[in-house]
């Protein structure tokens, strides 16, 4: 029978799912729908594509959750890894260049005033420029840490790198942002801080 599933851990929900409690996966979905969508949205050019990929991620997760082994990492890192694979698959199949304007617009809160929108647009543009000055893995680790709020342990699981290696890559990312892109970085950080 349905329980107060919001209090259960991911592993307990997976257990319930495997025992036939079909509402358990719905609870897992509610926990990860937004984080996974955001993770995908940060990395693709448009909302429709992000929704398609998010759908793919959860369909695959549903299909394979019974194969998930809790001894090999958290459910969160497991499903992020599915999302990462889905993104790689997507980029491999779709090599067309995304429309940057659409992408930037899609990332801005539609509830902002016109003036706020201009500022946010400039900021988004600077962020985009700065991020794409990094290597792919550096950008991936930086976004996972600061935007997707993943721990280094989770990042290591998702990317297949060592935890220490992820930290080192992140440190280099920050160094690159600070030293090689002074203008973008200044805009990125709202020009209110002194970089020495």
């Amino acid at each position: 029978m349905p329980q107060n599933q919001s209090e259960l851990t991911d592993a307990e929900l997976v257990h319930l799912h495997c025992t036939g409690d079909t509402s358990a996966f719905s609870e897992l979905y509610e926990r990860y729908a937004h984080p996974i969508f955001a993770y995908v949205m940060y990395r693709v050019s448009e909302r429709t594509t992000a929704e398609d990929i998010t759908s793919t991620v959860f369909m695959r997760a549903l299909e394979h959750t019974k194969k998930y082994n809790p001894n090999r990492g958290s459910y969160g890192s497991w499903i992020y890894r599915i999302a990462r694979n889905a993104l790689i698959d997507h980029f491999r199949r779709n090599r067309t260049t995304a429309n940057l304007d659409d992408f930037l617009d899609s990332l801005i809160d539609p509830g902002l005033s016109p003036a706020e929108h201009v500022v946010a647009r400039e900021r988004a543009s600077a962020v985009h420029t700065a991020l794409y000055s990094l290597s792919e893995i550096q950008r991936e680790i930086l976004l996972l840490r600061f935007w997707d709020d993943c721990s280094f342990t989770e990042i290591a699981k998702i990317t297949g790198k060592s935890e220490a290696g992820c930290k080192m890559q992140l440190r280099r990312s920050l160094d690159t942002l600070r030293t090689h892109l002074p203008l973008a970085t200044l805009i990125l950080f709202l020009t209110t801080h002194t970089f020495q």
Partner: protein
């Protein structure tokens, strides 16, 4: 997000960063604050959730399919109270004439809400519009039905192999088919329940209610017209048996699965049928509406080595037929009285009665191209997932489907426009999967393209 923790971890990885702590304390919060807006919309979130539910129905073991439907509906955010109000006002007292304690001698048939007349399914070879059906009986086509049913889309088929279909099968498709939308009323549901629980069962005049009787908890679901009966003496309705590993030291064994201490001998078909018959008699379920019971066992040969835990259940189904056509769920499993037997203690662990009452009909054209597309799963569905990178994709062997059977697929969804649970009977082709090592055992393809 704890900035200090992040900085400390960075410094621990590279002690030279300690001299730049001040910089990091400014830079990192700003970087976090620059995270763009990427809110998921409610419409997408709910739609995907519904798709996942439908997908679960097609991949979970047969005996749990109907349970899934009612469980999820309870779990989902759609208010049954609102639905009940609508049902009460919808009218229709057809089932009042079936409100009898005597099991019926004739099978259920479809009838239309408007004229309460019975009708039979018919297939038109010439009609193609949504309002130009040629149908048998005296039923008229509801002019509003097209809008209310156009949200259905054929569900995706997920498998490790793509399916192909012979051209003669496609050529044989009718040009249009009638789709039936369920319009339940509270009176109809109450009458249905009392009909199916006739022999002094206290539930017979109660809807949307739970009742404990003996070792079982009986629940009715007003939204789907289903009755579920669950054993309260089993913490897990179906025992988990690992498909390959024999001890918890096996690395393939998930920590939460306990190996069965003793081998469980399979239950014979005869024993299963006897247990099911005794159960229906004990609870007081009228089986006269339904067909000859059949035994369904899990396909043990199709289980992958790591596909654990497997359900070792035997299910007896009293199938529901309408106008001579079997009613199945999206996995091709017969719908009707589904009785799940625990082979370990040889008792009924769960039962579900899923049937139909009032349906409104409309006609949709058949789109052969969509039909083909829904059978041929695309490459994105076919690569191994857990350990594999996308480059692990292997070329799957197509499975050729032959000799379909015409069925009615019972399809339940929440309407995106009204937030009501809607049930449909969709004419479909059911193909037996010729591959013993591929799941699912049956491929059910809706005939009409309802997304147009």
């Amino acid at each position: 997000m704890n900035t200090t923790e992040i900085i400390n971890s960075l410094i621990s990885a590279d002690p030279s960063l300690a001299s730049q702590r001040d910089l990091l304390e400014k830079l990192i919060p700003e970087l976090i604050a620059s995270r763009p807006v990427a809110e998921i919309t409610d419409s997408f979130r709910i739609t995907l959730k519904q798709r996942l539910v439908e997908e679960q129905q097609s991949i979970v073991p047969a005996s749990t399919g109907s349970k899934l439907r009612s469980t999820f509906i309870r779990y989902s955010a759609y208010g049954s109270a609102c639905l009940a109000l609508i049902l009460i006002t919808a009218g229709g007292a057809y089932f009042s004439r079936h409100n009898t304690t005597e099991p019926p001698t004739t099978p259920l048939s479809i009838h239309q809400v408007g004229d309460k007349a019975f009708g039979a399914l018919s297939f038109s070879g010439s009609g193609s519009g949504k309002s130009t059906a040629s149908s048998s009986g005296s039923m008229a086509i509801n002019p509003n039905a097209a809008d209310s049913t156009s949200v259905i889309t054929p569900y995706p088929i997920w498998s490790s192999n793509p399916y192909t279909i012979a051209q003669p099968v496609i050529d044989s498709l009718p040009k249009s088919v009638e789709v039936f939308k369920q319009l339940p009323t509270s009176e109809g549901v109450a009458a249905l329940f009392s009909t199916l629980l006739p022999t002094g069962n206290a539930m017979r005049n109660v809807t949307n209610y739970s009742l404990r009787t003996g070792d079982y908890l009986i629940q009715t679901d007003l939204t789907t017209g289903t009755i579920s009966i669950e054993s309260i003496n089993q913490s897990i309705a179906t025992p988990l048996i690992h498909s390959g590993a024999t001890s918890s030291s096996d690395p393939a064994m998930p920590s939460f699965v306990t190996p069965s201490p003793t081998p469980i001998s399979p239950i014979s078909d005869e024993d299963a049928l006897n247990i099911a018959a005794a159960f229906t008699q004990k609870i007081g379920i009228a089986t006269g509406y339904f067909g000859t019971p059949e035994v369904i066992k899990p396909p043990t040969t199709a289980v992958e080595p790591l596909y654990y835990p497997m359900y070792s259940t035997t299910t007896v189904v009293y199938p529901l037929t309408i106008s001579g056509l079997p009613v199945v769920d999206q996995s091709g499993t017969p719908v009707g009285i589904t009785i799940q037997i625990n082979p370990q203690d040889r008792t009924v662990s769960y039962a579900n009665i899923s049937t139909t009452f009032q349906f409104e009909r409309s006609v949709y054209p058949v789109n052969a191209e969509t039909f083909k597309k829904s059978v041929q799963s695309n490459n994105s569905n076919t690569y191994s997932l857990y350990d594999g990178a996308p480059t692990d994709t292997t070329t799957p062997t197509p499975i050729t489907l032959k000799d379909p059977t015409l069925v009615l697929m019972l399809f339940t969804q929440n309407s995106s426009t009204t937030n009501q649970t809607e049930s449909y009977l969709v004419p479909s082709y059911s193909f037996a999967n010729p591959s013993q090592n591929s799941y699912p055992a049956k491929i059910v393809v809706p005939l009409p393209d309802l997304s147009q």
